[in-house]
């Protein structure tokens, strides 16, 4: 099933070939106003091929950090590079787009276009390459795009649902469509913002296992946030904990104790 992704990823795009580190943040700050400081000097370094879990209580700045990494939210201080290119106010629009086009992003609420087919939604993942009016629906999309989207859907076991409307699928299936959309463009980095939070335990585990398997087999660097301690430790090599807008700890999964995890969520 996963061979399809190998076929569609060009050899030069594998994560191992990217100059390390893949992501580097030094003293990263993000404030929405003087009083609303969300990130307050975050240092983070992620090497290519790593699988990193980002944990923290609500409001600790996890989602903001993820969005800052690809320039969706502009940072207000510090330095940030992604794929060796700056991603801050000083970055050009072309640099920001280049970063985004090498990244797959999966949101907590899947963010699919409800009225479009599953196939159309996966094709949307290719917009970064070349957006056009043909992106309106799958019937207008180029043959090549449809083929690649079907391969990505096959990789998440949803090829048979390609022509259904996105909002007719279950929550778990919709999240798998979002994974296919993120993977169809052969990203080097996959960012997932609490991908299992809106799913039942079984669907959540299935989605996390899918992430983990696809990223391991195809050398995709994975950075995900989670409130679920089991998810944070089972599918990552490393755990980074945020508390009060700063990195509370950053250590390999093997060195993370239950007490460490509870400490992150205490007061």
């Amino acid at each position: 099933m996963l061979d399809h992704l190998t076929d569609i990823r060009p050899a030069e795009a594998t994560a191992r070939d990217v100059p390390e580190p893949l992501i580097e943040a030094r003293g990263l700050c993000k404030a929405y106003s003087r009083r609303a400081v969300v990130l307050d000097g975050v240092d983070l370094r992620i090497e290519a091929g790593e699988r990193v879990a980002l944990i923290g209580s609500n409001g600790s700045g996890k989602s903001t950090l993820l969005k800052c990494l690809i320039g969706l939210h502009p940072i207000t201080g510090g330095e940030l590079t992604c794929f060796g290119e700056p991603v801050g106010p000083q970055a050009s629009r072309a640099q920001r787009l280049r970063t985004r086009r090498q990244t797959g992003f999966v949101f907590q609420k899947h963010c699919l276009v409800r009225r479009r087919s599953v196939l159309s939604n996966v094709i949307h993942g290719l917009f970064g390459e070349a957006g056009s009016w043909r992106a309106f629906c799958h019937s207008l999309a180029p043959e090549d795009w449809r083929g690649r989207a079907m391969e990505a859907l096959d990789a998440v076991n949803l090829a048979d649902k390609a022509m259904l409307r996105a909002d007719t699928l279950s929550g778990g299936q919709q999240q798998r469509v979002a994974v296919a959309r993120a993977l169809v463009r052969r990203p080097r980095l996959l960012i997932a913002d609490e991908p299992a939070a809106s799913l039942d335990p079984v669907s959540g585990r299935n989605v996390m296992e899918l992430f983990s398997t696809l990223c391991r087999e195809h050398d995709i660097t994975l950075l995900y946030t989670s409130h679920d301690m089991a998810h944070a430790t089972a599918y990552a090599d490393r755990v980074v904990a945020l508390k009060g807008g700063r990195v509370h700890f950053d250590r390999p999964v093997a060195k993370v104790s239950r007490a460490n995890l509870h400490d992150v969520f205490d007061g």
Binding site: K67, I70, L72, L97, R98, T99, R100, R101, T103, G104, F105, F107, K109, C111, L112, V113, R114, R115, R116, S120, H124, G125, F127, G128, G131, S132, W133, A135, F136, C137, A178, R181, A182, R185
Partner: protein
């Protein structure tokens, strides 16, 4: 009833003296205006026999085959003005609405200028546009079609822009996160989401265009309205009643058709 531990709100609690003064002032303006422009009971009493006489002269409606054939051609022209004008207007409204929609427009904060332009098109009445086009293009259906185009852009431009502003934000953010441009976000996320609203507004625009096109002839912009004006000018009241009946029928048919289409897309 048992005594409660909190103060009883007054009868006019929350109704300030300023609100009261504004209400009184509004009432005074309406009463003063009624004295000038509202019909007096005497005027109404004197008008009823005149109206009855007019209705008497209008009946029965003229059903001569030659006249009906001429009316049929004019109705066809009215429909053509309405449909062509509305179709062109709806197509032009889409890019204009995109440029006017806040948070979606490729012009960023400059979108308010486009919105102001759309407001201008909307605030000038259709008969005034018709007079302008008749003066610039000449008498006939083309002036009517141009009027409907402008009127439709004013109407659809606003509603399309509002629908784009209210479109679901999450799919747009998801596409933005993977490097899609504004055009791709419009085509991929916004238009599919607001399609029912676009169709609904377009159907209202067609309905409005049919209603407008029947009166545009009064100022020489083609359609059945031109026949109505001639009938009244020449005191041919039986012809006029037939034309009014035809206008009623085409508006009714159009409303039934658009209602059925709207029900199907809900």
């Amino acid at each position: 009833m048992a005594e409660r531990g909190f103060p009883q709100p007054g009868r006019f609690e929350g109704f300030s003296a300023l609100n009261f003064a504004l209400l009184v002032a509004l009432g005074a303006v309406i009463l003063a205006s009624m004295g000038k422009v509202a019909p007096s009971p005497q005027q109404l009493a004197e008008g009823v026999p005149g109206m009855a006489s007019l209705v008497g002269r209008m009946l029965p409606p003229n059903t001569e085959p030659a006249f009906l054939a001429r009316i049929g051609m004019r109705i066809l022209e009215t429909f053509q003005i309405a449909l062509v004008g509305a179709a062109i207007g709806i197509v032009l409204s889409l890019p204009i609405a995109w440029c006017a929609a806040r948070g979606v427009s490729p012009f960023g904060r400059g979108s308010f200028l486009v919105k102001a332009f759309v407001s201008f098109l909307r605030t000038v009445p259709d008969l005034v546009w018709a007079l302008l086009f008749v003066a610039s293009i000449g008498l006939g259906a083309v002036a009517g079609t141009m009027t409907i185009v402008v009127d439709t852009i004013g109407f659809c431009g606003r509603f399309f822009a509002e629908a784009m502003e209210d479109a679901e934000k999450e799919p747009q953010e998801a596409l933005s996160a993977i490097g899609a441009g504004k055009g791709s976000i419009l085509v991929g996320a916004i238009l599919p989401d607001i399609m029912p609203s676009l169709i609904n507004s377009s159907l209202f625009a067609v309905e409005k265009a049919v209603r407008s096109s029947v009166v545009l002839g009064l100022v020489g912009a083609g359609g059945i309205g031109q026949e109505l004006k001639v009938a009244f000018d020449l005191f041919q009241y039986r012809n006029a009643s037939m034309i009014i009946l035809a206008i009623f029928l085409i508006v009714l048919v159009m409303e039934i058709c658009t209602d059925k289409l709207r029900a199907r897309i809900q």
